[in-house]
């Protein structure tokens, strides 16, 4: 009989479930978020909980048996939040245990391809948002940014901005997940955040208009190519991009 391991939605919880599933070696087992699945007729339900020791054992196992990139693929693929990603990772890890580090070279194998592809998607969106995050300065000089990415890239973005904007206080608010990275007095923390009440700095509107004006001017009339622009800046991202805001100019 196969089993479905459920976890609390956190990465630590997922790794705990992964460790349990790997130990038991039941074929056809799945991992899913609690509340996201119903018990099947022929499937046992096991609640994994969140156990830091089991979680770090899972990481150690992947690092020991996989290639130098395996842990990275697992971590990034998990952040995709794609339906079924947990079970896809489980199958990928089983392959690692079976084939060792050469598994990551089996690029035409669907189990490898799936996890690699999800990981690349997350990495791609995170890189895009290194460019797409837009801060505004608030009255207390904190920089505030609202983002709504497809994947849970906040843990990848925050370290990037800690390096570049370490001399400021800032907030990156993932409004889709009601989560925020808060950087205050050189400390970075993550906390739930639903709505934020904001008072802009008096100078903010002026700088924003300068930028919008610059953006408009930089296009060359004779080369207009909105199709190419749409490929590079998909419409879904535009509502949080200052330069695509149709407000005052």
């Amino acid at each position: 009989m196969s089993a479905t391991y459920t976890y609390d939605g956190t990465f630590e919880g997922f790794l705990t479930a992964l460790a349990l599933a790997v130990e038991k070696k039941l074929p056809g087992s799945e991992i899913a978020r609690e509340n996201a699945v119903e018990a099947g007729l022929f499937s046992e339900f096991i609640r994994a909980g969140s156990d830091p020791i089991k979680a770090s054992a899972a990481r150690a196992l992947i690092e020991r048996r996989g290639s130098a990139g395996s842990w990275h693929y697992v971590r990034y693929a998990f952040l995709s939040e794609a339906p079924g990603v947990e079970t896809a990772i489980l199958e990928y890890v089983r392959l690692l245990l079976d084939k060792g580090r050469t598994a990551d070279n089996m690029l035409a194998d669907d189990r490898v391809k799936k996890v690699h592809a999800l990981s690349a998607k997350v990495g791609g969106e995170a890189h895009r948002f290194m460019g797409f995050v837009r801060f505004k300065e608030l009255a207390d000089k904190t920089l505030y940014s609202k983002i709504e990415p497809d994947h849970n890239i906040l843990p990848l973005l925050a370290p990037h901005f800690r390096v570049r904007l370490g001399t400021f206080n800032w907030v990156i608010h993932d409004a889709r997940r009601n989560n925020a990275a808060l950087y205050f007095k050189e400390k970075l923390v993550y906390a739930p955040l639903s709505a934020a009440e904001l008072t802009e700095d008096a100078k903010e509107a002026e700088v924003r208009e300068l930028w919008k004006h610059f953006f408009k001017t930089a296009a060359i009339k004779e080369r207009m190519n909105p199709e190419l622009q749409r490929q590079n800046v998909p419409l879904k991202y535009r509502k949080n991009l200052t330069e695509f805001d149709r407000g005052a100019e």
């Binding site: 035409a108 610059f214 930089a218």
Partner: protein, 425 residues
């Protein structure tokens, strides 16, 4: 004049410079900002080009009268100048909101090349020392400026550049009186020496200051003068080889000025520009030489096909290649296989033999590659293959009617431009 108006004038006059990269530097440290080795694009304008840097001129006034240039002396458009404080302040305000990766500063010549260079250096020095800014800076070097001033540029900037603009001395004399090949290549050569000396020094003493760590680039204008693609690509090859340039940009000529020395172009030659970028890529990442791509009998790039397909169709005796045995260098030369899929093939081969189906899964564009490869001895291409037959087949893919559909090609080109124009390598 208020800042907004100045910014409009000076961004408008800077936008014809094609350089957009913010890559090649990993500057960081105390203060604000850092550079990202692979570069970051922050937005894309309505023409599909990326914005990575605040690209502006310090001033659009100029003592020169180059026919192709929007900033020529005899153009009586509105003139503006930004002070070093304004340039540094604006860059910093934009940077902290994550609008940009940094500054691209160029300029018309005001008073003299030396005076212009001094003011530009002052702006960038302020940004680095007063604002303690560690983001990316690309600085244009003004031909004719004193060597000591040129030397300073690389101390503050990540990337430096001198634009050649016109590929031959003859064209320069015709369109840019006041400039010669020597006034352009002189500073370029000097920068190349400083960059390579600094690299050597940093190999032995890590703490010695980096000199233009993201190297040097230049730009050529395409279509304003009669040079052939062969002349242009040969020049680029020499610039990458002898001058160790990081990038050569190609800018389709946009006739912003009317002048009887200039051709009356209706549209900028975007497709030709795109083919040049593809050929340039083949020089830098695929191990091709200029002579292989364009010889004396064929000095122009084929507008219907990418240059790698043309080369492969003319060299069928080298194909088909067995993907399970061929070397990496050979695989790179197969149409439909890029650097990424070549690396994937090489990696996947270690885990076991590859079939034609597997190649598709690895991201190979099989509709092009199919004529040039076998996998495990299996071939999926034409029975009687000649270069012409393959080209005809490929054209069919582009247009089911069998005719060359220029608009279809143009759309294809525009999609492909993403890789070449933004070019974050």
């Amino acid at each position: 004049m208020d800042l907004d108006k100045k910014l409009e004038i000076l961004a408008d006059s800077a936008k014809y410079d094609a350089s957009c990269a913010s890559s090649g530097s990993d500057r960081g440290g105390r203060g604000t900002g850092a550079a990202h080795l692979s570069g970051v694009c922050h937005s894309w304008t309505a023409d599909g080009r990326c914005i990575s840097l605040l690209k502006i001129l310090m001033t659009n006034e100029c003592v020169y009268d180059c026919a192709y240039c929007v900033n020529r002396r005899s153009n009586d458009s509105a003139k503006a100048i930004l002070t070093p404080d304004e340039i540094a302040g604006l860059t910093f305000e934009f940077y902290k909101r994550n609008y940009i990766e940094g500054l691209f500063l160029s300029s018309g010549i005001i008073v003299s090349p030396d005076r212009t260079m001094e003011l530009m250096l002052e702006a960038v020095r302020k940004l680095r020392q007063v604002f303690r800014f560690n983001g990316y800076v690309h600085m244009k070097v003004i031909p004719g400026a004193d060597q000591a001033l040129i030397d300073q540029a690389g101390l503050w900037a990540d990337r430096v550049s001198v634009n050649i603009e016109l590929p031959t001395d003859k064209s320069l004399r015709l369109l840019a009186p006041g400039k010669t090949k020597a006034t352009v290549l002189g500073p370029m050569n000097r920068l190349a020496q400083r960059i390579s000396a600094s690299k050597d020094e940093r190999r032995s003493i890590k703490s010695s200051p980096a000199y233009a760590p993201a190297g040097q680039s230049t730009q050529l204008i395409i279509g304003a003068t009669p040079e052939t693609d062969r002349e242009i690509i040969k020049l680029s090859e020499a610039l990458y080889g002898k001058m160790r340039l990081k990038r050569v940009y190609y800018s389709a000529f946009v006739p912003v000025m009317k002048d009887n020395r200039l051709p009356a172009l209706i549209d900028p030659p975007l497709l030709r520009e795109h083919r040049l970028y593809q050929a340039d890529w083949l020089l830098r990442f695929y191990g091709f030489t200029a002579e292989e791509l364009l010889d004396e009998k064929h000095p122009a790039l084929d507008l219907s096909f990418d240059p790698k397909t043309v080369w492969a169709a003319n060299n069928l005796h080298l194909f088909p290649l067995e993907v399970n045995k061929a070397s990496y260098e050979e695989i790179l030369r197969v149409p439909g296989i890029g650097v990424t899929s070549a690396q994937r093939i090489f990696r996947a081969r270690r885990a076991g033999g590859l079939s034609l189906d597997d190649l598709k899964k690895l991201g190979v564009v099989m509709k092009r590659a199919v004529y040039f490869v076998t996998a495990g001895g299996k071939y999926g291409g034409l029975k009687k293959e000649t270069g012409e037959a393959i080209k005809l087949k490929l054209l069919e893919h582009k247009n089911p009617n069998g005719q060359l559909d220029l608009f279809g090609e143009a759309a294809l080109v525009k999609a492909g431009m993403k890789e070449t124009v933004t070019g974050q390598i």
